[in-house]
């Protein structure tokens, strides 16, 4: 919104650019270089946490597009993540397909399932639409749990690590780079979708579907597109996480997980791409911080570690409520205020 001091837009191209000033380019480059260096100084455990967080961000970008931008509330996001995870795992381990093809295909598969669920959005709005995504959550997970011959049922199945021309990306370090690059691409794609014509159509539908129609926006087509894109991101995020862990079980894709995805974008801020990063990283940090605290506590009180999951539920639920009550625009909004404050740095007013 506000430009740094002494920066003026003279052409529409400049006005539209995401990365506008030289400083922003430098910061972006620095961030990418820093990202690439992460494996050099973190341990395997920490790196796994980071990889998981990054794949969650990719999936959360999907729900941000679907719910945050297009306004189609989804309470079944983790089921679409599951579709991606299982498709990719099946394609690699059963059909022997290469990881590099399986992941995009998994994304498309999840997107298509999403499209099917999205068909209900043509007639349903608001609370009634929640039901169809909730139904998707239950029905998809029912199929995964009970189709034991294919999915291994509640015992789960394995998702082999990727290979590229004989080189196995078995180490956490090498897998980090795959996910990191995927995250960069996903962010770039998401940002582009939401700031061009397609994104404007999504927001138009979210804010006022009647007016959107009068402006010539094909409601059905764009709602379905939002479902496809949102669920495709979920699928790709799910597939990447699955291969990172090596094993997948249905209990990582419960309704509670779907609520977590909604929580990420509430905490980060609905309708912003940056917000997704803030939301997921915030919750992930909270979760891991709490885990560390409890495990250190369990030396004094044995059994404190088993409190992690329920305690995290309480804290997460409370954080969602607090954000909705006191900072409904999420962390991204705080970040905007912070940036505006340092706009004239080093001479702040």
């Amino acid at each position: 919104m506000h430009l740094p001091c002494r920066t003026f837009n003279e052409t529409y191209e400049q006005d539209m650019a995401i990365v506008r000033t030289r400083l922003q380019w430098i910061l972006l480059a620095a961030a990418i270089v820093f990202g690439l260096c992460i494996p050099l100084f973190t341990g395997t455990y920490m790196l796994t946490v980071i990889i998981t967080t990054m794949s969650i961000i990719i999936a959360a970008l999907g729900i941000q597009i679907l719910t945050g931008y297009c306004g189609q509330l989804s309470v079944g996001h983790s089921a679409f993540v599951a579709v991606g995870a299982y498709s990719s795992a099946l394609l690699v381990s059963q059909s022997g397909l290469s990881f590099w093809i399986a992941v995009p295909v998994a994304g498309i598969a999840a997107g298509l399932v999403g499209l099917l669920v999205g068909l209900t959005s043509i007639r349903l709005k608001g609370f009634y639409l929640i039901i169809s995504t909730l139904a998707a959550q239950f029905i998809i997970m029912y199929v995964i749990i009970h189709w034991t011959s294919v999915t291994g049922g509640s015992f789960g199945m394995s998702a082999p690590a990727p290979k590229l021309g004989g080189i196995e990306f078995a180490t956490t370090q090498s897998y980090f780079y795959i996910v990191f690059i995927a995250l960069l691409i996903a962010t770039y794609v998401a940002k582009n979708i939401v700031r061009t014509n397609v994104g404007r159509a999504f927001i138009a539908i979210r804010d006022n579907d009647l007016a959107a129609e009068v402006m010539g926006i094909h409601l059905t087509a764009y709602k379905l597109l939002a479902f496809f894109i949102g669920c495709a991101f979920a699928g790709i995020g799910g597939a990447l996480a699955a291969h990172a862990r090596g094993v997948i079980t249905p209990d990582s894709y419960t309704l509670v997980q779907s609520f977590w995805y909604l929580g990420y974008i509430i905490i980060g801020g609905l309708g912003t791409i940056t917000g997704v990063f803030f939301g997921v990283i915030f919750v992930s940090a909270l979760n891991n911080g709490l885990a560390m605290f409890l495990s250190s506590l369990s030396t004094i009180f044995p059994g404190a570690g088993s409190l992690l999951a329920p305690l995290m539920l309480v804290i997460f639920g409370l954080v969602i409520i607090l954000f909705l009550t006191f900072e409904p625009r999420g962390l991204a909004h705080r970040w905007q205020i912070f940036k505006a404050y340092y706009r004239l740095w080093p001479f702040s007013y």
Partner: protein, 263 residues
Amino acid sequence: MVSEDKAKLKLEHLHLSFGGVHALIDVSLDVREGEILSIIGPNGAGKTCILNCINGFYRPQQGNIYFEGRDITRLQSHKIAGLGIARTFQNIELFTGLSVQDNLLAGRHFYMTGGLVGSILGGVYLGRTHREEVEQRRAIEDIIDFLEIEAIRKQVVGTVPYGLRKRVELGRALALGPRVLLMDEPMAGMNLEEKEDMARFILDIYEERVNTIVLIEHDMGVVMDISDRVVVLDFGRKIAEGKPSEVKGNPDVIKAYLGKAAA
């Protein structure tokens, strides 16, 4: 300017009812190329229903609507918009989360053909989608300038005051590059000064941009002064049609709508 026989928009024997309530009964009317046509009538007479039928929100049970000779009765709303029929709403229906500029750009939706792949790959610095965005920005700047809303270009619509919002909505309708503009109570809730501004914009639009305008309005001063023809509705029926001066003197209209004061 008004050509007598060229009907831009033709409504033939429209019947519309909602569960037993008749909203429109056998309404026929022509909107001629190059005129400002006002539709007046008491509340609930079916004025807005006519607009809703024209742009495809409601499907009349009987009757047909032709636009430039083409039957549009059963077309979907977004297709009708694409043909060049734009409208504004009684209670301002803007995209409150978008900036003024993006609201207008959303109105240019039809002119952007890049689609999804284009916007994924070329949205930022390359390709046709990018050129398109720049082009459309130029087109809407023209409208922004025309409606004198430069100062709020980048403001989120939710924070813009009421009078200006009406103008933004008008701008969004213009962004569609329409051949017919339907306006539903553009002056509602405005004071005299704002009404004058709005009247000026409507007349300017009529001269420079859209030569066929359909207006629903309650302010008789505005209706009688700026419209070429007036159609009067009452309980879903058309009870009068003609030049403002003719309608003003029509005893049926006085009885049903205008009241003693106007006589």
